[in-house]
């Protein structure tokens, strides 16, 4: 099927009105790399496609005076991973943004779109969760914020209500002595859906010997990307060593409830959670230590 209408509003209010008009049958898109295909392949019925790329607030990267980061929801991945300050201060975002599809996809696909598509295997959501990102949503009754770990509610489902639109992602300033990383496992070396993915964001003591805090998230092992608070708690206050890392990996494994499908078996996914969490923690530690 094809969508019946196309509109390209130039303001958030117009976009909200356009989305509201469809009673749930209208859908926003940015890069379109998921939505256009889903509509074409009858996996999603859409009446009006609302192209949000003409709304100035939705595209752009703002480095805030407090060290925080604001990403317009429709900002293409390529723009994000080319940004020198993002590269320097949010390397985990670069890890994710440079893995979504090939370069032809990255020139269009956005992290906001990746979040709103709400795939359990989405390659940016664990990173957004680990980094403590907040989703800023505009709707008929104004704006509201939702922590990304609370955004997805099921495969392809999320907290957005009819008429609502993801406007931006807000990231707190990275703490001193912190580091974050994202990895996924795929059978090929590019162009694949994650069998499992994982992100970690850790803060070390000033001497780099102890974990002060950690946020760990995993994907493709549950109906939504998972924030595994227990894995982070397993690290807090613990020395930076193999045992601590193994305990966090084990906590993540315990949280995973994967299924077997064409992309991997449940057992393989459980196993890979341990492998990937260990690996992202090591990269995050290296980055934290600079």
């Amino acid at each position: 099927m094809q969508a019946r209408n196309y509109v390209a509003p130039s303001s958030i209010d117009e976009a909200v009105a356009a989305l509201q008009a469809g009673n749930g049958a209208n859908r926003a898109f940015a890069g379109g790399t998921d939505v256009i295909i889903q509509v074409r392949e009858n996996r999603r019925a859409v009446d009006t496609l609302v192209d949000i790329k003409s709304i100035p607030e939705l595209i752009g990267i703002t480095h805030k005076p407090d060290g925080g980061l604001r990403l317009g929801a429709a900002t293409p991945c390529a723009q994000i991973y080319r940004d020198p300050q993002v590269k320097a201060r949010f390397p985990a975002l670069v890890d994710s943004a440079s893995l979504i599809g090939g370069v032809q996809i990255q020139s269009r696909a956005s992290l906001g779109g990746n979040l709103c598509n709400s795939s359990p295997a989405a390659d940016s959501i664990p990173t957004l969760i680990a980094l403590g990102a907040i989703a800023e949503i505009a709707g008929p009754s104004g704006r509201r914020n939702v922590a990304v770990e609370d955004f997805c509610t099921g495969p392809g489902q999320n907290v957005l209500q009819p008429g609502e639109l993801l406007v931006a992602l807000e990231f707190p300033s990275p703490a001193a002595n912190s580091g974050a990383a994202f990895e996924r496992f795929i059978p090929r070396n590019e162009m694949d859906i994650a069998v499992v993915n994982a992100a970690a964001n850790i803060t070390l003591s000033a001497d780099g010997s102890t974990f002060q805090a950690a946020r760990i998230a995993i994907g493709a092992v549950a109906p939504t990307p998972l924030y595994v608070a227990a894995a982070g708690q397993a690290l807090a206050g613990k020395p930076v060593n193999d045992d601590s890392i193994a305990a966090a990996a084990e906590a993540a494994r315990a949280a995973a409830t994967p299924i077997t499908d064409m992309r991997g078996s449940a057992a393989q996914r459980k196993h890979l959670v341990g492998v990937l969490v260990t690996s992202v923690l090591r990269t995050a530690i290296d980055r934290a230590r600079g």
Binding site: M1, I193, A267, H271
Partner: protein
């Protein structure tokens, strides 16, 4: 039959630009979907959502009423006069199902409408009443008593006559050589295994597309990206019961085939819709239709056992080979019996081969059909013996290699072949000589064989007023055959490559040509080209004798020059042609050959280094060398390309490609996202070593080169993984999941 001293080749062995190249790098070349006729309707096909079901009824009335719909057709439209739907032959029923849908994706009905959107919408309005039946997907399960029967009328063909009950086993073929029991008595070391491979697809990038017109006088024209315009014409004629002389098939450029575009799918359907509507109708498949509704290559189960003396001489081999032929009968396993022992001189063997139907798409050829899975078994057994006997795997192969006089694939002795030469080249190769170091790494080697078909080809040549030559052929150019044929004509008549202009034409415009497949075109059409070139020379000599007023016998043709024996008069082909064409009747010739079933056979040997990630089970290809007896490398760059492309297809087959089914028989990975063919990042550069052992059946020593390179990779990579991990892999694909399951017990 090698008529020419190879060192004197002037054109063969050079690397000129291909004549169709500019059109293909500028986007001008016309492929199947690029045909645009005025007033064309768009077609779309309704496919079965069930893998096995009785089609109780089809109600097309709602679809027909949708504005913009011009015609709907079903299997009933393929029933020929005097027949019933129950008698619909397999060939027709695979194009539009008869009483049963036999696989998910089986074409049920087709619509022609004013545009694609309407056609798609209309297929959704067709109401089909299915009685869903139990499904059988596994080849061994399908052979068991009590398995769901696909065809009630099918009786197994066996060496002792047809079976007496319905069966999914199409045929049981036996091939016996020597005395197997005596062989086992001589065997000191034995390796055996139970191997299986998954159904895989050729994965050409261009989806099938066809456009047809049907004029009121019954003249049918079909544009198709087929591998064989002539067979497509024949099959369309048979299916539609329409005279072959009234059907013209125009082959477009073709975006890959590898065997998968031999069969007909859209040609008869577009023609039927064109007849019903009186307008041109075009259908282009979606990618998921290509996976689910065309002809992948069989999954297999092979139980095999190889015995050798303590010195390493192979003395006994036994195999039970079962091949999925998909929904209808075929002879995939039979082909495997021609390949599995062919690289070696084995005095005693016993092969039982079973062609079996399952609820999957009707299979088609895929590059050296049946041989890769056979080699996956055989070459791993050899590797195991090499470890048991502590003999270098290449030397073990060399001491057992088939050579001139060894029993060949049909039982006849080989003429000159090059398996020994490529093994020697492998031993001497920089790759094999360099050590492989590091943990989790392994090197694997494997040989592969393909018999190479020959079959029928026809060409016409005509000399232009400026002395250049047009070469008219009927084989679609999949990978540079315009160039390789033009080069052979240039070599034959002694002109520059640039002075030959090759063109591929339709079925009305040249004599019969079999498919572009089986690595036959450069060989068999090359023979036709050589014949046509020699006829031209003869004709020109005759005319020249009149012009020069000398006896014909006094004129010699050598190195592109006609001259009298006394040397008094001479002229190059081009000079003489200009003189002769200007004065007399047009100068044309044709070459038309039936080059028999088989060429001399071709062998490949591959060396691969892998690294296996112990944590994830992922196999990384570090280094790859493909060595092959290519007979004569007419255009070495395109020969290398065949070796490289075949190797990478084999890498995909070995590591990640598979038809992944759910329990109801639905393929769930029918996209390029989840059917994982290799990307640029998954493979290294593929080194090639071309060994030229001329095939004595061809005037220039040509051997087909396209098929053999897909044969060794499956086993070579399995052998490398076994050496890297210590665990032998019996099942494909060797995906990360399977490697973890077998090496880490992650189940």
């Amino acid at each position: 039959m090698v008529t020419k001293d190879r060192s004197s080749f002037k054109v063969i062995g050079t690397r000129p630009l291909r004549p169709d190249g500019i059109d293909k790098v500028t986007g001008r070349a016309q492929y199947g979907a690029d045909i645009r006729l005025s007033g064309t309707l768009s077609g779309h096909i309704l496919r079965s959502p069930h893998a096995h079901a009785v089609i109780k009824s089809i109600d097309t009335s709602k679809a027909e009423k949708l504005p913009g719909v011009k015609a709907v057709v079903t299997g009933a439209d393929l029933v020929l006069p005097g027949k019933t739907l129950d008698e619909l032959p397999d060939l027709s029923a695979n194009v539009l199902a008869g009483r049963k849908a036999l696989y998910r994706g089986h074409a049920i009905a087709a619509v022609a409408a004013i545009n694609e959107q309407v056609a798609r919408e209309a297929t959704r309005l067709i109401e089909v009443d299915y009685e869903v039946l139990p499904v059988v997907l596994d080849v061994r399960e399908s052979m068991q008593p009590g398995a769901p029967i696909l065809h009630q009328a099918m009786r197994t063909r066996t060496p002792s006559g047809p079976g007496d009950a319905p069966s999914n086993v199409v045929a049981h073929t036996q091939v016996i050589n020597g005395d197997i029991e005596a062989g086992w008595k001589d065997a000191v070391e034995i390796a055996e295994g139970d191997f299986s491979t998954s159904m895989v697809h050729q994965g050409y990038i261009e989806p099938h597309a066809a456009t047809a017109t049907w004029n009121s006088d019954g003249q049918v024209t079909i544009w198709s990206c087929t591998q064989g315009a002539f067979p497509a014409r024949e099959r369309t004629s048979t299916i539609l019961g329409h005279p072959i002389s009234k059907i013209k098939v125009i082959p477009t450029e073709i975006g890959g085939g590898f065997g998968g575009k031999i069969g007909v799918y859209l040609e008869p359907v577009t023609a039927l819709l064109a007849r019903k509507t009186g307008k041109p109708v075009k259908i282009q498949m979606d990618r998921d239709e290509v996976f689910e509704g065309t002809g992948p290559t069989p999954g297999t189960s092979i139980r095999a056992k190889l015995g050798a003396t303590k010195d390493g001489k192979f003395v006994a081999f036994q195999a039970d080979l079962a091949y999925e032929n998909g929904a209808y009968g075929g002879s995939a396993a039979n082909y495997a019996t021609m390949c599995i022992t062919a690289p070696y001189d084995i005095p005693n063997f016993h092969l039982d081969a079973f062609d079996v139907v399952v609820n999957k798409p009707r299979t088609q050829d895929y590059r050296a059909p049946s041989s890769p899975a056979a080699a996956f078994a055989m070459e791993q057994l050899i590797d195991e013996l090499s470890e048991k006997l502590n003999i270098d795997p290449l030397k073990l192969r060399l001491m057992n290699a088939a050579h001139e006089g060894t029993r060949g694939p049909t039982g006849m002795p080989y003429k000159r072949i090059g398996h020994e030469e490529i093994l020697e080249a492998a031993i001497d190769s920089p790759h094999y000589k360099s050590p492989l170091e590091g943990p989790n790494r392994g090197r694997g080697v494997a040989s592969g064989f393909w018999f190479n078909v020959a079959l029928r080809s026809s060409v016409n040549v005509s000399v232009q007023p400026d002395g250049t030559v047009n070469l008219i052929g009927g084989n679609t150019d999949l990978s540079g055959t315009r160039a390789s044929l033009a080069m052979q004509l240039a070599e034959t008549i002694g002109v520059a490559y640039e002075d030959v202009k090759p063109t591929v034409v339709d079925t009305d415009s040249v004599g019969y040509n079999d498919v572009t497949a089986g690595s036959r075109v450069t060989f068999a059409t090359g023979i036709a080209v050589h014949e046509a070139g020699n006829k031209l020379i003869k004709e020109m000599t005759g005319r020249l004798a009149e012009t020069w007023q000398v006896p014909v016998e006094d004129i010699e043709f050598e190195d592109g020059t006609f001259k009298t024996k006394d040397g008094a008069k001479s002229g190059t082909f081009k000079e003489i042609a200009q003189a002769v064409v200007g004065r007399g009747p047009g100068l044309t010739a044709s070459g038309s050959v039936n080059a028999g079933f088989l060429q001399g056979g071709a062998f490949a040997h591959h060396i691969v280094d892998v690294e296996v990630n112990p944590d994830t089970g992922k196999v990384n290809i570090l280094r790859y060398t493909a060595i092959q007896d290519v007979g004569t490398a007419v255009h070495p760059s395109y020969v290398e390309g065949q070796l490289q492309g075949g190797a990478v297809q084999g890498i995909g087959w070995a590591l990640n490609e598979e038809y992944y089914y759910d329990e109801e028989g639905r393929m769930v990975n029918s996209s390029f996202l989840d059917y994982r063919i290799p990307t640029t990042l998954d493979v290294p550069m593929i080194d090639t070593i071309l060994i030229e052992v001329p095939d004595p059946l061809h005037p220039f020593g040509v051997r087909g080169v396209g098929e053999p390179p897909i044969v060794p990779p499956l086993a070579a990579i399995a052998n490398a993984v076994a050496r890297a991990t210590g665990v032998r892999q019996y099942q494909l694909p060797m995906s990360p999941r399977r490697i973890l399951e077998t090496t880490k017990d992650v189940v």
